[in-house]
Amino acid sequence: MGVKARAQPLPGHQISIEQQHGMSVDGLLPTKSMHPSDAEDAARELRLCELARASVVVWGGGTQMQLGSEPRGYDVAFSTERMTRLLEYEPADLTCRVEAGMRVADLQATLEANGQRLPLDPPHPDHATVGGMVAANTNGLNRARHGTVRDWVIGMAVAYPSGKVARAGGKVVKNVAGYDLMKLHTGALGTLGVIVEVNFKVQTRPEADVTLLGHFEDPSAALKAGIDLAHHYLAPAAMILVDRATLWKCGLTADWRWTLAMKLEGYAREIQPTQEAAASIVRGAGGRIEGQALPATFWDNARDWSSSTEDTDVVFSGMSSLTGLQTLLPLAAAAGPLMVQPGAGIFHVRVAPDAAAPALDRLRRAAGDDGQVVVTRAPVSLKKSLDVWGPTPPGFPLMRSLKEALDPHATLNPGRFVGGL
């Protein structure tokens, strides 16, 4: 698309060099920043950006800013940091409406005070915002049992570069009025509009939970146990298969090469039978159950592992069918420290930068048409040579037309998403 001709002076606030560097994306620095106070304000500011033919990068908590290709341009850092209010919450309805800039941990704390929760557990909830979680479709480890962002968002308000705020969905848990644009914006990385408010359905916190660790020497036996559990009526809420290096990062050591960690939760009377069923599947697959004291932060560490910010490693995240995961496992294990979510068909692997390109190529060839491997973290020098998103997905021409329909001047996050959208 080339360099845009600037039609009007760049809107927004001047920022210091320090602020510029704090908001760099893939080495690019913004010239100005915007901090709208509410939905309407956000739409007005976006319109100014569009009129000026500016390139806007949207910021929530900044935990997923490494995700995506290098932006084609970056003039304005557009932050939701002032939009943090809880707009509505009726515990008896199990629904709430919040502004996009609210931290996930703050929302969870409000819900917890009423014995409720959003069963989504994106990494770094103290920093991650609700809007960022939805835009980047960051799902933690609970997805095997509780689904993903798309299953819990019941309504949304989005600010568009046209200067309008438009809503979709609503405040009730069952609703088919109009198009489900929430699905379109979930995981769109802010390329179609800026999510300014989100309505969620929530759930009552489980009465009890317990973690079970199964140890294996053979990773494919461990994966088979995990997949069998995913087929079981009593599937764990969260389940990860990790090697020793990853387990250590989660705060545990083990004598065994592979560990299947299962978080079982539910009604109080459900826990013991669930634990027995899971243990029997693990043993049946040749694993050992060992009683082991679990550090309190085990699941938090595990949740944050694939997007921890201090590492300069490259992270690949793959998704495939469950049978495809069995094919991919040995290749992924050879690439670096690994975490698999057997029930969801997902793996994350940390790869050394110099080995990244060949490993990515091998994994993508093995994934074939029924899966994909995305580079979720990489230094910008590598991003230039790696194809971050991989081949464009089926239906890509429709995606390009949707981008042109909703963001005709490519104001929003230009170039960061799939296929250069």
Binding site: E90, D93, L94, N137, G147, T148, R150, D151, Y160, K164, A166, R167, G170, K171, V172, K174, N175, V176, A177, G178, Y179, D180, L181, M182, K183, L184, T186, G187, A188, L192, E207, A230, H232, Y233, G266, Y267, R269, E270, P273, T274, S320, S321, L322, T323, G324, A344, G345, I346, D370, G371, Q372, G390, T392, G395, L398, M399, L402, A405, L406, V418
Partner: protein, 491 residues
Amino acid sequence: MDAGARERLVQRLREVVGPRYAFDDPYEMRLYQYDASPETALPDVVVLPGNADEVARVLKICSDEGVPIVARAAASSLAGGTVPVHGGVVVTFPRMDRILEIDPDNLRAVLEPGVVNLSLSQALRPGGYYYVPDPSSQGACTIGGNVATNAGGPHTLLYGVTVNHVTGLEVALASGELVRVGGAKAAESTGYDLTGLVVGSEGTMGIVTKIWVKLTPIPPLQKTLLAIYPDIESASNGVSAIIRSGILPAAMEMLDKISIQAIEAASHAGYPLDAGAVLLLEVDGIEPVVEDLAERMGSICRDHGATEVRVARTEAERQALWKGRKGAFSAMGRLSPDFYVMDGVVPRTKLPETLKKIDAISERTGYTICNVFHAGDGNLHPLVLFDGFVPGQYEAVLKIGDEILKLCADAGGSVTGEHGIGLEKRENIRYVFSDDDLEVMDRVRRVFDPRGLMNPGKIFPGHGLKPSTPRYPPGYPRQPAANGGGDDLWV
């Protein structure tokens, strides 16, 4: 469409689907003028493609000719979703009813759109799986239609509606392209979630030709309770109390006095005739949990006004209770020649006051309104009883429906929970969306269908709609009811 154009169109379509499977005889087409909503309109041509490729070629021809395209499967739409108000070609799927693959290893099945909802679950049962969404019409309605409307059903309270169980689609676009979207065997693909967008778009984006759905393990045990209340208000309080307790049952359905009487007359489900309202509750899971939850819910109900709580002791008793609920709409034929069913949603806490207001509308207008609904998620189905042969009643009932939907919207709810906007609620959609909201949706629609040929006149207000015809136009002969009601009419 003039006769010559129609003849040319039929000829072209026959070249694709074969001579038997495209026709324009007005007598043969009468079947395709209606669905389960009150309005009707005749198509110009009906076509029955045999596979996805034929669907795509049919769409290409329609596009070339600038002819509207309306997908119609079992036509159990209660919102006029399949009524061809602008004429054109009705595409229907009796020949595309194959389960293409059951893949338990990946917890998926791959289907053609004409697969009947219930037959899918029956096919999955031997392997220990089922397909969760279970609209009351599941014995007739198809997965393709379920995808179009994002259908729900009683058991979606805990497990989610259609969109939560679909991972990929193949869609024929108006342009004649066949596009595969979504993750299919994987949960997701990269890029925008086109699967989630197309589900529930009521045939306005394209025609779904292949569907990947999730399989769910059958719960080891299901237990169904019937809580009996003196009135609907105490039953509503029972619903709130259960939700407050932290229990989310698999299903939580409410039936009022009039519905109970109609159901008992039709199917002897075992509902007490002297009850003011009943709550049908189901829990599923492993035995100790099911027993515990059933006991806890039973005592919550008794503490909140239930005069009695019965538990289905056998599978036959359980099936009878469900048969009553799922046959509720057809049972209304016992009470009235016609009914008009609404599909409003309110936040759960607004149920009691909304029901009171609906009651007040009934009192004021003199029309009986009964309520059979998904109480757990606040999805109301008020049924307004009327006689379509009495001049003025149909129009009066439409007004009542409109008032009820406004009421739901004003309570913070929605004008449709599972039936879709269709033809029926294309003006009511304004109660929940602004012009700006609809403008964005329309832009999205144009991406898929720039010329507006896919199911025109649905979802969006306006669009210069020609008036449709009510099912009984003036002078239509009244048919004597053989069994006191249209038991088989409403599926």
